[in-house]
């Protein structure tokens, strides 16, 4: 079955570059996981990273908020810039970077705290609210944007871990956007969810695109086709092909891409 591709809109053609990876090499100890990756991530677009398991797409995603720093023996070479500023520069503060680059993980990981606290935690440590009223506003706005407010508005004090899987994942998205990041990284955000919850998240991603730039790792080619404007295909640590999603899925240039999207490798 050929994936359905959403029509390209005007914003994706002439969007400025938000983040740029130039000649990125990543090593785990002696093993090289990524080889010379060059990729431009345009603003207000959803860029999906696809490829078979172990191809390095998650590793690449985690380079953008330097989450690989906490992995022992992981070394990143090359440069990654956000708004033209090298995030691996010596004077770059990692904590500040992560406030600008939010992340949603594969498995929903809300804090074992109340729904309210989950969303308020980020703004609180960054001093984004001067008082309780402002904090309430941030929490309500974030939950609204994450499409969760109607389901939780009567139980903001109940534990976030008591929600269903799909709700937890939207809570994690609310938590990420509460800090008002510019770039949101999503690492297979729907892999632990059922189709209905997945549909909700996908709808949400499409909305979030208006305010944020999004990079998403996904195993589902249908999902990549549904939510993203740009697609990058990774294979064995190499970026094989990148371009408009429509073009990648309908007219791939590389035979490996073709083999993957038609289900012959992966």
């Amino acid at each position: 079955m050929a994936p359905t591709v959403m029509p390209a809109d005007s914003i994706m053609f002439n969007a400025p570059v938000k983040a740029r990876a130039s000649d990125v090499n990543v090593f785990y100890g002696a093993k090289q996981a990524l080889m010379g990756i060059n990729l431009d991530v345009p603003e207000h677009n959803v860029t999906s990273l696809i490829g078979p398991s172990g191809c390095g797409k998650t590793t690449f995603l985690r380079c953008f908020n330097r989450m690989n720093d906490i992995v022992d023996g992981c070394r990143v070479e090359g440069s990654i810039t956000i708004d033209g500023v090298d995030i691996y520069a010596r004077n770059q503060d990692v904590v500040q970077l992560r406030a600008r680059v939010g992340m949603v993980f594969q498995k929903p990981n809300p804090f074992p705290k109340s729904i309210y606290e989950n969303v308020a935690y980020g703004p609180r440590i960054h001093g984004m609210a001067a008082n309780k009223r402002q904090m309430d506003e941030i929490v309500i706005e974030s939950l609204t944007r994450a499409g969760l407010i109607d389901e939780v508005k009567d139980r903001l004090d109940s534990p976030g871990t008591g929600l269903s899987g799909g709700q937890q994942q939207r809570l994690c998205i609310a938590r990420a956007i509460a800090v008002k990041p510019e770039l949101i990284l999503m690492d297979e955000p729907c892999s632990a969810l059922d189709p209905i919850a997945t549909a909700k998240i996908e709808e949400l991603i499409d909305e979030l695109r208006n305010n944020f730039t999004i990079m998403i790792v996904t195993h589902s080619m249908q999902q990549a086709a549904r939510v993203s404007q740009r697609t990058a295909f990774f294979h064995m640590g190499e970026l094989v092909e990148t371009g408009l999603t429509e073009q990648i899925f309908t007219n791939p240039k590389d035979t490996r891409t073709q083999a993957y999207i038609t289900g012959r490798i992966g």
């Binding site: 906490i70 904590v95 990981n109 809300p110 074992p112």
Partner: protein
């Protein structure tokens, strides 16, 4: 007819099934009998302790008519608060005993008679008079401590069949004691003094409170040192330290330290804390330092395991919203690891509470009758007190020893109870 059995004949399959059932049954029985054996040993220990020790919670008192004779109490002809402390109160007890048994005249008989009352009786009179000097000149009928031998007789632990020269009480003393019992002038009462006083040479006046207070101060010092140091070390090693050869060596050494015989820590305390830093001997402060050294590995290992059990996804979640490593640890990792850390700390404390050997090295084995009031005063601790009493040849100390063990067990049970309650309090699901 179709046979669904995989075996060629159904009989073999049946036999195999029966064998499996038998094996399952045997396996269950091994488990049950192992548990039962453990319970039996535990039960036997507890029963024997309670059987031996319960009698220490009561003590025999004898009723004596005491005349607070001003002539006896006057020291060098005067009566003032200072002289009242030094006066000869045992003379009051002796006079009273003499009046109760007027027929006794010979020196040897008199000595035997006076041995019916405890030295604690005179101490009690001193306490009364110092508190209220108006008693002088009055008469009062008072219940005073009997000697430990009379106490044993009343509790039925001295056999009358034993020949006189092998018995703690002579025939005469037996007769007098029986007379007191017949006149309702000797009875068993609850031994409050056991829980409120320190050690004594006389079993009837020896109390556990001094050792309990010593244990309390020692444990406070241990907790104050080992808990913060242990938690910080565990947190640093687990969350912040780079994983390299040096941290590997440190880890191996911490695990080894947990298995070092405790008396080695005592030797260390003796060499470093006492000899080098010149701290006072027998003080809970020194004992606490030594026990803190001993419990540190336990606390570090337990805290590291608790930190390791916090799911990495929680750390990633915190870091991804821009929490610094310290904020991640303080706001998320420590609260989630707290139940495990507390359990480790309490296990360490319970170990420290029962420890004797290292404390012997730093002089906490000394005989100390006063109840300590600070960490610098000489003190002993519960297990050392039990050891000292067990070592004492006087028979009445046997019950004291068992009673001391019961107090120690009560301490341990309440500490474990606190651990369970704290754990419930802090436990969260994710």
């Amino acid at each position: 007819m179709t046979d669904i059995s995989r075996h060629a004949n159904a009989g073999a399959a049946d036999a195999m099934m029966r064998r499996r059932y038998r094996a399952e049954k045997r396996f269950r029985w091994y488990g049950i009998s192992a548990t039962a054996t453990a319970l039996l040993f535990l039960g036997a220990m507890l029963v024997s302790i309670v059987v031996i020790g319960h009698s220490a919670f009561s003590q025999t008192f004898i009723k004596l008519d005491i005349f607070f004779d001003p002539q006896i109490l006057a020291v060098e002809g005067k009566i003032d608060p200072d002289s009242l402390r030094r006066a000869d109160y045992s003379a009051l007890v002796k006079t009273s005993l003499q009046e109760t048994f007027p027929g006794v005249t010979g020196r040897r008989e008199q000595r035997q008679l006076f041995a019916l009352a405890s030295r604690g009786a005179a101490d009690k009179l001193r306490e009364l008079v110092v508190e209220d000097p108006n008693l002088i000149g009055s008469k009062a009928s008072l219940w005073l401590l009997s000697s430990d031998d009379v106490d044993l007789l009343v509790k039925g632990e001295i056999s009358r069949e034993t020949p006189e020269h092998e018995r703690q009480l002579s025939d005469l003393q037996l007769e007098w004691a029986d007379q007191l019992v017949a006149q309702n002038a000797a009875e068993l009462r609850f031994n409050t003094a056991f829980f409120t006083t320190g050690d004594s040479r006389e079993p009837e006046t020896a109390g556990i409170f001094g050792a309990a207070a010593g244990s309390f101060y020692t444990l406070m010092v241990t907790l104050a040192l080992s808990f913060p140091i242990g938690i910080m070390a565990a947190l640093y090693l687990q969350e912040f330290a780079p994983k390299n050869r040096l941290t590997d060596i440190i880890e191996v050494n911490i695990n080894n330290l947990a298995a070092v015989p405790s008396s080695v820590f005592g030797l260390l305390g003796l060499a470093v804390v006492l000899n080098f830093f010149q701290m006072p001997r027998s003080a809970p402060l020194v004992g606490g330092v030594v026990l803190a050294l001993m419990t540190l590995p336990t606390i570090i290992i337990a805290a590291r395991a608790a930190i390791l059990a916090v799911p990495p996804s929680i750390r990633e979640a915190a870091l991804s919203v821009g929490a610094s490593p310290m904020q991640t640890s303080l706001h998320h990792v420590i609260p989630l690891a707290a139940p495990g850390m507390l359990t480790g700390a309490i296990i360490g404390m319970a170990q420290a509470l029962g420890e004797t050997a290292p404390l012997l090295m730093i002089g906490m084995i000394a005989f100390i009758a006063d109840v300590p009031e600070s960490v610098m005063e000489p003190a002993t601790v519960l297990p050392v007190q039990i050891f000292l009493w067990a070592d004492n040849p006087e028979r009445a100390f046997a019950a004291k020893t068992a009673a001391g063990i019961m107090v120690l067990l009560a301490f341990l049970i309440s500490m474990n109870l606190i651990a369970v309650i704290l754990r419930r309090q802090f436990e969260r699901k994710w």
